[in-house]
């Protein structure tokens, strides 16, 4: 088991920077890893609502940083037990993330494929509910919205 790797990073993410943080990568061989799974959340340049499609020109993420790191570590360690992970990477971008760039990366490694896919879904659902990070969208007319899903 690798130590969970959890971070907030003040720029758009690149998965290349994290590949060696999981066992199963060629740089970190392991005898019992059968599946490695990387999920990348990408910011979209268009937001649809009932009335119109607004073009998003700028995306900004803010965190309650110390609490976000605590929640991400709690999530990571819960996921390790629940899905028998042998490695986990959980990274979120903070600040400006232009549309089309990566705002979140979830990497997991373990024995079998299906639990790794389930772990990815579970981690993302919990992250989107509990980790205190907020997105602000700026539209082409200059208006801004903090996103607070109901």
């Amino acid at each position: 088991m690798n130590e969970p790797f959890v971070a907030l990073v003040e720029e758009p993410l690149r998965v290349e920077d994290y590949l060696t943080r999981l066992p199963g990568d060629s740089a970190v061989p392991s005898n019992t890893i059968g599946a490695v799974q990387w999920f990348l959340g990408i910011t979209r340049g268009r937001t649809e609502d009932e009335r119109q499609i607004q073009k998003t020109t700028d995306l900004w993420y803010e965190a309650h940083a110390t609490m976000a790191i605590k929640e991400m570590n709690r999530l990571a360690s819960d996921a390790v037990s629940r899905f028998e992970l042998q490695g986990i990477v959980l990274v979120h971008a903070i600040g400006v993330v232009p549309p089309g760039q990566t705002s979140v990366i979830v990497g997991v490694a373990g024995r079998h494929r299906t639990p790794m896919l389930d772990a990815t879904a579970w981690i993302m659902e919990n992250l989107k509910r509990d980790v205190p990070i907020w997105k602000r969208e700026t539209f082409h007319d200059g208006s801004q919205d903090w996103i607070h899903p109901q």
Partner: protein, 86 residues
């Protein structure tokens, strides 16, 4: 008595400040109040935050608490509106 509450995202933009203070009478023995009461105090004293207060959770010392959690004076309190990371 008072409690200081950190704001983030939408509530901070609406309030125009990073932190608000709510005042209350020390009616309980501990001289404190619970998280649900703090959210009601926010809505009463900062009407522009009433909608957010109803939708939000409180975090004490960087962990979510339920509405019946009693807040000790001096703890770090934050209003956490619905999150949108990912």
């Amino acid at each position: 008595m008072h409690i200081d509450i950190e704001l983030f995202a939408g509530p901070r933009a609406v309030a125009g400040v990073d932190c608000i203070r709510v005042e209350f009478d020390a009616t309980s023995e501990s001289g404190s109040c619970d998280a649900g009461e703090v959210k009601r105090l926010i809505a009463d004293q900062y009407p522009e935050l009433a909608t957010y207060a109803a939708q939000s959770r409180l975090a004490i010392d960087e962990a979510y608490v339920t509405d019946d959690h009693v807040i000790d004076l001096g703890q770090r309190v934050a209003l956490i509106p619905p999150v949108s990371g990912g």
